[in-house]
């Protein structure tokens, strides 16, 4: 029964953060670092896994509100929803857009959550096929994808990867000898991820949100709310193939390590727009198919991105990079066999994903009219406490052992985050490289010691060879088919 309480608490928490414009799941997860330090989860760490995954899904559903009612994306995953959702809201059809968005996102969360669960029993087969060489190829592919497919500034993105790798290399090396620490003892164990993430993403976003000039909040009309809500649900069912198509696009792009979060939504949106060019209502002017197509990819993409995160320890996107760190922090070695053999972990993870999605979806639809009022709260009123909470989270998660050093480093990384944002250096690429450095270095040495001594490695491991060829192709041609998602 305690699981039900945890799910409800996480739905409320994640939903609330999701409702805050520009907040998104990343910041909700950063705050979880303090929640784990404050609360002793009565059922142990598994309940925390449950809490964290429900937080993510409910946050993803909640972020549609800001996109539709304010024209500000709640997070990168709901930016495409805004294109048609906001015009619909301006036409007095906010409830219609919201219910279609939430219903589609919820249903696809359940469908693709189940699909993810079906893959898990085949994990032992996957491990036999995907060995060290394939992981090495996959890591290179991930770096190329995030550099060339998530932005048009490929060179800058590659430089971000380089920067991230350097930051990840700080601390003890494989022989236990300090590296790139400049003799500072604090750095011996590396730079804490919670500081890197908060510095790169949370603080610059919060500062930006404080200066953001927000338009009027579009109100959810009391008289028409119920009818519009049902209409939105009906249209979602009516356009079920668009929804499923969006789900499939989101899921597949989510599976590609490093690229999830935004891309799937935009690709799904672009696809549905190109397929329905002759519609009376133009895309961008309030076509519900645009909302359904992009929201279809929202939660399914998160499920797709979850799989490489837990199976290979290669996070699907920046949100999962933080979540992965959080799970490792509480004791689950994500990407390790022990986690994949832990049925309790998997049950809590997938069960939480699907049940949380359903509960969050239902609650958001039922309470949409009341929740929409939260949009009227000035951004500054959200952002100042959110910023302070994040700083507090960092210090409490570090058990207040190194307060001064933590704050200095947070300032440094906030500045780096601000510079990256201003000069369009990819922050997700930097974070991904930082997170994956250890894995890349280890895999490289294993390749050097075991496989590269053999010239036939390219033939014996064709999947690795394919990953390398794909990496080169993406690096050279990716820019032509992409846009700036970050």
């Amino acid at each position: 029964m305690i699981e039900v309480g945890i799910i409800l608490a996480a739905v409320l928490y994640g939903g609330l953060i999701g409702l805050i414009p520009s907040a998104g799941p990343g910041k909700a997860i950063i705050l979880l670092f303090s929640i784990i330090a404050l609360f002793d989860f009565p059922g142990g760490d598994y309940l925390f896994v449950l809490f964290s995954i429900v937080t993510v899904v409910s946050c993803s559903i909640g972020d549609s509100f800001a996109s539709v009612l304010l024209g500000i994306p709640g997070a990168s995953g709901s930016a495409a929803t805004m294109v048609d959702g906001y015009p619909l809201a301006k036409q007095g059809r906010a409830s219609y857009a919201l219910s279609a968005a939430i219903f589609t996102s919820t249903i696809n969360g359940v469908i693709f959550g189940a699909l993810g669960l079906l893959i898990i029993p085949y994990y032992p087969v996957v491990v036999k096929v995907i060995g060290i060489p394939e992981i090495f190829g996959l890591l290179i592919l991930a770096f190329c994808m995030i550099s060339a497919l998530t932005t048009k500034h490929t060179i800058r993105s590659l430089l971000s990867v380089g920067g991230g790798l350097f930051i990840g290399s700080i601390g003890f090396n494989l022989y236990g000898i300090p590296r790139h620490t400049a003799g500072i003892e604090y750095l011996n164990d590396g730079i804490p991820i919670v500081i890197v993430v908060a510095g790169l993403f949370a603080i610059p976003e919060i500062l930006e949100a404080l200066t953001l000039r927000r338009g009027d909040v579009i109100k959810v009309e009391k008289n028409t709310h119920k009818a519009q809500t049902w209409e939105g649900i009906r249209d979602s069912i009516k356009h079920k193939w668009i929804s499923l198509q969006g789900g499939a696009v989101g899921y597949i792009t989510g599976l590609m390590p490093g690229t999830a979060g935004g891309i799937g939504d935009w690709v799904a949106y672009a696809l549905v727009a190109s397929q329905n060019k002759k519609d009376k209502i133009k895309f961008g002017e309030g076509n519900i198919k645009g909302v359904i197509g992009s929201e279809g990819a929202n939660n399914s993409g998160k499920m797709g991105a979850l799989l490489p995160t837990i199976i290979f320890g290669i996070p699907g996107n920046k949100m999962y990079a933080i979540l992965m760190a959080l799970w490792i922090y509480v004791g689950f070695e994500v990407g390790d066999l022990s986690v994949m053999e832990d049925t309790k972990f998997l049950t809590h993870l997938f069960g939480g994903y699907m049940v949380g999605t359903v509960i969050a979806g239902i609650l958001m639809i039922v309470l949409a009219r009341y929740l929409s009022r939260l949009m009227e709260v000035k951004l500054a009123y959200w952002m100042v406490p959110l910023g302070l909470l994040i700083i507090w989270s960092i210090l409490s998660s570090r058990h207040y052992v190194t307060v001064q050093e933590d704050l200095i480093l947070l300032t440094v990384f906030s500045y780096i985050g601000y510079l990256c944002k201003s000069f369009k250096f990819s922050r997700p690429a930097l974070l991904m490289a930082y997170v994956l450095f250890e894995k890349l270095e280890g895999t490289f040495y294993m390749m050097k010691g075991i496989y590269f001594i053999n010239n036939d490695v390219w033939l014996e491991h064709p999947l690795m060879t394919i990953f390398f060829i794909l990496s080169v192709l993406i690096l050279f041609y990716g820019r032509k088919v992409t846009m700036n998602y970050n």
């Binding site: 060290i132 003892e185 066999l337 895999t443 010691g449 075991i450």
Partner: protein, 338 residues
């Protein structure tokens, strides 16, 4: 007024007896040592609460634990309310004495700890040069493998040369997860792991005959020697298998270094100590014993089935092994193996 005085006396007496101990984990919050501390102190706190006390954890990561120990020694070693977790003390041998800032792990009182045991697995079809994993925390395993492959050779240099010729040391394993994956995908011929993983990670391969348990390092005894791992019947014990293969018991400088490090990993890997003559020592040992007794099931589930022990006997008998010769040998091997 009388009631007020009584209340004040009561409050004062409560505050005198109810103490909060600070438990120093000389490691990062997300590592195996921290996890062990979190699990054990969660149970320990239940028993301490009955005595009116509790424990809070404090993590001091850095320099592989050295920072935590030296911080304790220079800032907190007079404090009766500070407890520290040991983590093998390999660095006590390999890192220069000056780095320890005077900290002496034999000049403290050990409250209690859990013995550790390790298994070494090998692919049944392994032949020729063996791909073996290497990382600083896998030094003992590499030494055990060298001994098993080469037998008793007169010098450390000869054993190293023999072992180097028969193995290909693979680095890149910062955590155990990547080592397991490399082993299961046939990148490595050898792996090492704890008992709990034998019945999970290697279960299918052992069942199909693809993997064999090569040997077990054993667990430390009260006298500071290595004995048979209590989770096995003794047939896979390092000493027995060595003698079966080479016709003589293991001996020599390389072996002495190996066995000393093995006892340190098994007996000092997860222990708690405090300052000498701490007035709380007795209550801490008593509650430690009660924790092991009353939470046996939950501790076995979260921390494995290895034996628990209290007092100074085991730690001090292990340190007694660290004479000038073994220290010199360990340093020589550690330097050569890098």
């Amino acid at each position: 007024m009388k009631k007020l005085y009584l209340l004040m006396v009561l409050l004062l007496s409560t505050s005198v007896f109810a103490e909060t101990f600070t438990y120093i984990v000389p490691a990062a919050i997300d590592g195996g040592n921290a996890k062990w501390a979190q699990k054990f102190t969660k149970e320990w706190n239940k028993e301490l609460a009955k005595e009116g006390h509790d424990i809070i954890l404090r993590y001091v990561p850095g320099q592989g634990g050295l920072k935590g120990f030296t911080k304790y020694h220079t800032e907190m070693s007079d404090d009766n309310l500070v407890l520290v977790q040991s983590k093998g003390f390999f660095d006590y041998v390999t890192v220069p004495e000056s780095s320890w800032k005077g900290f002496d792990p034999t000049a403290v009182d050990y409250i209690g700890g859990q013995l550790q045991g390790t298994f070494v697995f090998i692919k049944s079809n392994a032949e020729g040069t063996l791909n073996i994993p290497y990382a600083p925390n896998l030094l003992i395993d590499a030494m055990g493998i060298y001994l098993m492959l080469c037998g008793n050779l007169p010098t450390i240099e000869e054993t190293m040369a023999c072992g180097d010729a028969k193995t290909n040391r693979i680095i890149g394993f910062k955590g155990m997860g990547s080592m397991r994956m490399a082993y299961l995908s046939d990148g490595l011929d050898v792996a090492r792991d704890g008992f709990s993983h034998m019945s999970k990670t290697y279960k299918e391969e052992i069942k199909s005959g693809e993997t064999l348990i090569w040997f077990t390092h054993g667990t430390v005894t009260d006298s500071g020697d290595m004995g048979v791992d209590p989770n096995t019947d003794g047939s896979l014990d390092f000493h027995k298998l060595f003698e079966d293969k080479h016709g003589a018991a293991p001996s020599g400088e390389f072996y002495d270094a190996y066995i000393t490090l093995s006892t340190m990993r098994s007996g000092l890997g997860k222990w708690v100590f405090t300052k000498k003559d701490n007035p709380f020592y007795d209550v801490l040992v008593k509650t430690f014993n009660k924790t092991v007794e009353n939470s046996r099931k939950s501790l076995a589930k979260s921390l494995g089935v290895y034996p628990w022990n209290t007092g100074n006997t085991i730690p001090l008998s292990i340190f007694a092994r660290l004479n000038e010769t073994t220290t010199k040998s360990i340093r020589a091997i550690n330097g050569a193996i890098k």
